[in-house]
Amino acid sequence: MLEISDISKSFAGFRAVSGVSLTVDTQQITAVIGPNGAGKSTLFNLISGQLRPDAGSVRLDGQDITGVPPHRICRMGIGRSFQRTNIFPQLTVFENVQAAFLVHHGHGRDFWARAEALYRDDTAALLAAVGLAGHEDTIAGTLAYGNQKQLELGIALASEPKVLLLDEPTAGMSASETHETIALIERIARERRLTLLFTEHDMAVVFSIAQQIAVMHQGRIIADGSPTAVRADPEVRRVYLGERP
């Protein structure tokens, strides 16, 4: 489904991502882990079109999407959530998700219809699915942090993505919130047959749901495989635990 080939990106001489290749199969859940500064966010930005790679390519379902701008990549089926919550703070929760539906179904050029009347059922259903039923009229900027994350997920899902990129979905959450969030994500991914690619620092989360794990260090992928294989990989142990080989 998602094929990243030999992708590289440098910033003023600093190689943030260097020759990264990764294949994510359809409906698979893949985690990208690594210490801070390993290049995980940059990699996500390269996939989702916010950055152009210096070299290498990204293919979605066989189609080359390298360097395509974000607003078009979204239409091709990649959805994304961000590390720091990215919602529309002045709109209500309902309007946040509704806007996503409006854009996804191509209503952006409609100057005449009344926006608030469109996709009401779809929005309500999606809000319920991500656990925000009852918050519809709250102004998004005033939501609690955890709820904002749920909203973000809702917005991403409204665009009916095939692939979902989640950048640290449980950052800043307590243990129970993390558990709930991960259960929610996993259920949704299954129900909607999504391919999931996420980054995380919480190893319990990673090893509980990931089917494939890629480990990044200093811009490179140093291990890529099943959780058991990665756990045993000597290079990974060296990087994470400082063990001598």
């Binding site: 989702s48 916010q50 701008p69 974000p70 607003h71 078009r72 979204c74 239409r75 959805g79 994304r80 961000f82 590390q83 720091r84 919550t85 990215n86 919602i87 529309f88 703070p89 002045q90 709109l91 209500t92 309007e95 509704q98 806007a99 996503a100 409006l102 854009v103 996804h104 209503h107 952006g108 050029r109 409609d110 100057f111 005449w112 219809a113 009344r114 926006a115 608030e116 469109l118 009229d137 102004i139 998004a140 900027g141 005033t142 942090y145 904002q148 917005i155 991403a156 409204a158 665009s159």
Partner: protein, 345 residues
Amino acid sequence: MNATVAAPAPPSRAAAAAPAEYRTVASRIPWVLIVFVIMATVPWVGTRYDTFLAGQIVIDALFAVSLNLLLGTTGLVSFGHVAYFGVGAYVCGILMKTYELPFIVAFPAAGLGAALFALISGYFCVRLIKLYFAMLTLAFSQIVWAVAYKWNDVTGGDQGLPEIPYPDLDWMSAIPGCADLSDGARFYLLSLVLVAVSLAVVHRIVRSPFGRVLTTVRDNPDRAAFLGVNVRLYQLAAFVIAGGLAGLAGALYGIFSRGVFTDYVFWSKSAEILIMTILGGAGFFWGPPVGAAVLVWLNQIVTDYTQYWSFVLGAILLVLLFGFPGGIVGGIVMLWRRLKRLRNA
């Protein structure tokens, strides 16, 4: 790049999205219709001077609403909006005075001319981030001013274009009650109708899916891109529509003031409109017209007593900034909500 929303939205913005109860109450009383009817009766009920003031309010309302399409709806802070007002005023004035074309041609031409200029200048402006965007809009507006100032043959230079003729309004005698009205009063009524229609159109646009997309661009352009929105294209569209509307306001103003002069295009007028918009409340559609009405009325009162209008305006602005960032409408909404809470308690 990513928006942090850890802190609650600042008061002006939190007040922006009216809660559900406010919407239903407001929609029970047809405020807008009432105001329109009141405004329409001014030529008969008030003095000639009242009509003059009312005309000023009506035109400034359109101008301010057009600015708010950029500011409140799309989040673009323009310091040079007067450029499009000026282009509209000059195009209409030149076509009607120099080329003796009828209003029905000159008026739309003014809007189109302003929109075209907005397209060209906007193309460059939307590529820039906030601060540079503001500076470039200012630069373009001063370019328009400089051209108006120097191009004597066409614009009349620093003398301007005095004595713009009224459009042919004889047909209005057929309307009951209008036969005895002066040309000025008739033009006022025509302007009122044109502005009302324009405002209705803008209102529709703001409530449409397109308008909703604009608000996403305002709140979080990166996220909007991730919904599939071509942010620059939408900003440019808003810029062009706002410019065109400002041009229409300018056209009306030129005729209304019986002349088009270079001080219409000076950047201080942009500041005035910005203040009007914020005074009324940039988070609300009807904020700018309220601001226009209040400011025009205040100007009248204050200048009767003192020549230090600028000082008063500055003081009002300070009170706004430090006390009522949501503007007048914002203040009313908050007051209403507080009363409602007391009543429910």
